[in-house]
Point group: C2
Chain length 346, copies 2
């Protein structure tokens, strides 16, 4: 696959092993951050490329994406005498990528790091764009920074090690990328059967390419980049609620509901035709099933929405697809329109 | 005084109140970080320029420049609903500037901050250069980042509120700035009597101008910027030891000893004449007195030196003045040369 050029770094999808080894060989000391999943499933596939290195193992899961784990990572870097010329390799999903990237970016005021995303979600989404951070006091990524890795190396072999639910979760971001930028890719994805053999190399390359194009144009989310938030305003608000239950929704499942709900709003706003909205809704429902939203407290969802970093004061600004392949941002949405969208979903 | 242009921001020394007010008026929400000293001595002088604002009060001192205090600042920003368009004003010395700047730079992946340094040390040193951070596990500034404020506003009226010892401490960095860049300024400073009335506006403007010129040429300390470390290799190592005692040395006092010791090394290396070294040593001793270094454990000082971020592995790389007005960097120094410098000081 051709190399994708991002902001001063390259995204390598499969192959390119020589390039990877040559990059890593510039560093005298290397730390590889893993969790209990990636150390057993992914690390054996790639460890021979690393040369001499130290492992820093953390516990997986969003609940560990916090300042306590940062303290542990910084302590490990200090204890193992990592200096300004060392490299951190983040071998994991979004949690390790965001948190390990933040720790590297703030250790000794910033040392180099390399992203090696292992989940479909992190390969097509978190891997580019430079957003790093951890959660604090129940708020997602409230402490963090923007910074770029020296490179992103994506190995789609990792995807075969993922639980099915994790794969489906990541697929939601691929659907989103198609909806905001390419009708052709949306229709191509619509025909995919996730139970069959899939050419992940091409699909991941295409999807990360879309995200990369957007973030290159607007690295600090001043404008255009907001289109990547399609499905995320309501998706995040629902995800936050679901995290309080015994059976939290994976991120992509929450975004899938968010995309259907926000498509409903786009129809009400006259941005999207009912026909296209139905196509979106049918495709997503085929993969993710129907959700029972009556379990969720509407007031709590609205309250989460108000705490969203993307909203200014009390105005709700959404990114809404319409027509398919195009996304509008900074669209002002009223509370009543949000309620209508929920009602028409039920 | 003319405005000093730094990297995308301006340094305003005294006056310029209209410019300051106009900058601040761009923000809907403003947090002013203070400590128990600046709230009583400096805040009353400037609070009318801030418009509506919230105060965040922390405890003064290097021992509070840590991640616990960061957690407190982040919590306060969350509790008071600060958003991406808010401003943090750091009204304090180096501790507040470094830590408040780091907290702002990592809150919501970075919100704007304005530096309002209140000590002589922070006015001529920490105010420009973009180095932010906090101490962790006994290591200075080990967690931090590089980032620039929207502006630096220096009010030399604050200096009249400082204890004498604090003023003398800051003066050491002014001496250093002259030694590394201008023989004329060094001789001018040599004639100053700190007990008389002093034109701080001109002196501070000149000194921060020197630092600014250096950091503009080398923002990320790849080369030239290292000259700012003159006196700091041994100065920091001694400061770290003194922090373990009941009567720790103020930063500038430690740097003053460091400058004398490193001048001795520069003489041994043939970089500095004995005559100039004596001028440096006499001037510094006149202000700071003679120190009894026999209280310090030489092995501990060397061990601190080895943990210095500036040293690579076991080589000691110093920045050494010679002749006065010029500084050499990446000079390899042997352990025996360090020992000789200590012996010839005693």
């Amino acid at each position: 696959m051709p190399i994708i050029n991002s902001n001063n770094y390259e995204v390598l999808v499969d192959e390119h092993i020589d390039k990877l080894k040559s990059l890593i060989s510039n560093y005298q000391k290397i730390a590889v951050i893993v969790d209990e999943n990636t150390i057993s499933h992914c690390y054996p596939i790639v460890k021979d490329h690393f040369g001499n290195h130290e492992l820093i193992e953390i516990s997986s899961g969003e609940k560990n994406k916090n300042l306590d784990t940062c303290n542990f990572i910084w302590s490990q870097l200090i204890e193992k005498s990592f200096d300004r010329k060392s490299l951190v390799i983040n071998l994991g999903g979004g949690v390790i990528g965001d948190m390990g990237g933040f720790c590297a970016s703030s250790y000794m005021r910033g040392i180099d790091f390399l992203q090696m995303p292992t989940t479909l979600l992190s390969q097509v989404d978190a891997s580019v764009g430079g957003k790093l951070g951890v959660d604090y006091q129940g708020l997602k990524n409230i402490v963090g920074t923007f910074n770029n890795p020296i490179a992103v190396w994506i190995n789609t072999d990792f995807l075969h090690t993922l639980p099915k639910k994790e794969l489906i979760s990541g697929f939601a971001e691929m659907i989103k990328h198609s909806l905001i930028s390419s009708k052709d890719i949306f229709y191509k994805l619509s025909k995919i059967d996730l139970n069959q053999k899939i050419d992940w190399t091409t699909l991941v390359h295409e999807s990360v390419g879309i995200k990369n194009k957007v973030v290159l144009e607007d690295p600090f989310e001043k404008g255009l980049r907001k289109i990547l938030n399609f499905g995320h305003s309501l998706g995040h608000a629902i995800e936050t609620e679901s995290l309080k239950t015994d059976d939290p929704l994976p991120h992509g499942y929450a975004i899938a509901i968010g995309m259907i709900l926000e498509s409903n709003i786009a129809v009400e706003k006259g941005l999207l035709s009912l026909e296209e909205s139905n196509q979106i809704s049918e495709f997503i429902t085929k993969i993710y099933g129907r959700f029972d939203l009556s379990d969720y407290d509407m007031d709590a969802i609205i309250s989460n929405l108000k705490h969203d970093k993307k909203n200014e004061d009390t105005k709700f600004l959404f990114s809404l697809v319409g027509p398919i392949g195009h996304c509008n941002y900074n669209v002002e949405v009223k509370l009543s329109e949000i309620e209508n969208a929920f009602n028409s979903y039920q």
